[in-house]
């Protein structure tokens, strides 16, 4: 069997299959369906310094081959995460990583500092790309100076693997990735959701309480692939690719475009066992094509 292990910063992943923040709860929600230790890692739900109630219902609408969400980072805050959630997830036998978000640079820094203390959290994913919060989030990730400011500040205080999650709602995502690299990020993950909207024609109203929301699912895959490809050409740090992956072939496509690892997001809702199926499918692909290691495939477009 081929070697599926890859490295992201100081992290060693047993395989490149990770689950995306906001689609996999804290991992615990999926233990009835799969063996969590079979995947390379889990990005748990976005965590902020202060508790957040999230946006009003309705927060979700189905779209062709995807969905829009406007959850708005509902979470109980960093203190609750450390006291109540961390003890339940720290012994899960895979890389448990936390997606960190905030409204101000100070919030991001305070959250990242606390994450240093947690032995079993080897990495954070800095979310500068959430489209569903009024302040912070995507505001930091859609221009180089905003991204630079928050990444620089967090890099100063956070000593483990720092991954920066990028927004696709920009003209040139490679520039933002280069900024992340210059400020010391160990890796970038892309893409977060695409800003979208749904309208109920019968009621002549927007469907979501927030009017706009983040689009995800197979419909965004071509956009995500293109952005991973462009970013791969622009930076040397590893890329974690995500956006609409729903099977092993999709995952292989992202790796060929330049991703070192991939995240599965929305499709976890359709098939809660999908991530282990993708691990198996990557094995099968590598064996069938005679590759010894998945690393041979990274950016290996002919």
């Amino acid at each position: 069997m081929a070697d599926l292990s890859v490295h992201i910063g100081k992290l060693e992943l047993k395989n490149p299959v990770l689950t995306a923040s906001g689609t996999f709860g804290y991992g615990i929600e999926y233990v009835d369906f799969m063996d969590l230790s079979r995947i390379g890692g889990i990005f748990v739900k976005g965590t902020t310094f202060h508790p957040r109630e999230g946006n009003d219902y309705p927060r979700m609408v189905e779209t062709p081959s995807g969905m829009l969400n406007a959850v708005g980072l509902q979470n109980k805050g960093i203190d609750y995460f450390i006291s109540d959630i961390y003890p339940k997830i720290k012994d899960i036998d895979t890389n448990m990583m936390v997606n960190v978000s905030g409204s101000t640079v100070e919030d991001y820094v305070a959250c990242a500092e606390r994450m240093n203390e947690l032995d079993k959290i080897p990495a954070i994913e800095l979310n500068i790309s959430c489209p569903n919060v009024k302040q912070g989030g995507m505001a930091f990730g859609t221009n180089c100076s905003g991204a630079s400011e928050v990444i620089k500040a967090v890099r100063k205080v956070y000593h483990k693997t720092l991954i920066v999650k990028l927004s696709p709602n920009v003209t040139n995502i490679a520039e933002i990735a280069q900024t992340a690299e210059a400020e010391g990020a160990d890796a970038v993950s892309l893409i977060n959701t695409l800003l979208g909207m749904a309208i109920d024609a019968e009621r002549r109203k927007p469907v979501l309480s927030t009017i706009t929301g983040g689009l995800s699912g197979p419909c965004v895959k071509p956009v995500a692939l293109r952005m991973v490809y462009q970013t791969y050409k622009a930076v040397k740090i590893p890329i974690i690719g995500l956006g609409g992956i729903s099977n092993a072939t999709d995952a292989i496509e992202f790796i060929l475009a330049g991703a070192t690892a991939i995240q599965i997001g929305t499709y976890n809702f359709i098939d809660p066992e999908i991530s282990v199926k993708v691990v198996d499918g990557i094995h099968e692909y590598l064996d069938r094509h005679g590759f010894q290691s998945v690393q041979e495939l990274i950016g290996a477009l002919s």
Binding site: G22, E29, D32, G54, V61, E62, G66, V71, P272, E273
Partner: protein, 260 residues
Amino acid sequence: MKKQIANWIVKDNIPLNEKHCLLKLTLEESLPEILPGQFVQVKVDNSESVFLRRPISVHQVDRKNQELWLLIQIVGDGTFQLSHLIPGDSLNLIYPLGNGFSIPAGSDKDKKLLLIGGGVGSAPLLYLGAYLKEKGFTPTFLLGARSERDLLQLDEFRKLGTVHITTENGGLGEKGYVVNHSSLLEGDADFIYACGPNLMMLSVARYAKEYAIPCEVSLENRMACGIGACLCCVEKTVKGNVCVCTEGPVFNINQLKWQI
């Protein structure tokens, strides 16, 4: 309760009227534990517009015949595809999901339990009624619909207890809404379970509060995952925003932030 994912086999698909059908599903192994009020997440194949699973409440669990019943209302293409399944087809389900209705403690079998359903919202009340009857209680049903054609599975409900009916057009039972039914005038129910359109449940909740009758309602907020991961189906409660798929779908009305 451990959640599972499996392919069930369609045993029967019975059209009830032009908008509704009854799916009877079976498994080769023995049926899992399922509580009244719980639901399943159904994967819809063969539809170009359907992406997410469809949450459907459990209508009946017939252990003797090894059947799980789902009452389907054809609303969009997902439920349209479900209505075209034929015996032998397979259907992928995640189950059992959600909390289920409260079952009264066993001692007082004379408790007056009133099960109020509106339209296709009556679906989970059949299994609840059967479950209560099996425990020795005598459920009473109050079912409302737009017209007599929209009343579903009346024969099945009548096997379990007294069935009161209201229709908006007066075609069967008393004319009006469920909360206008004459049997409610005494306000002497000991517990009310309700499922139906939100406005109906709100009216029932107001009635229950007026007469200080404990009351549970089953919500059907729009869901993506059904297992508490996506935080899309939230309802405002005294505990803040909670997922209807895991903390519900059944809520005591005292937990909700409704204007009751």
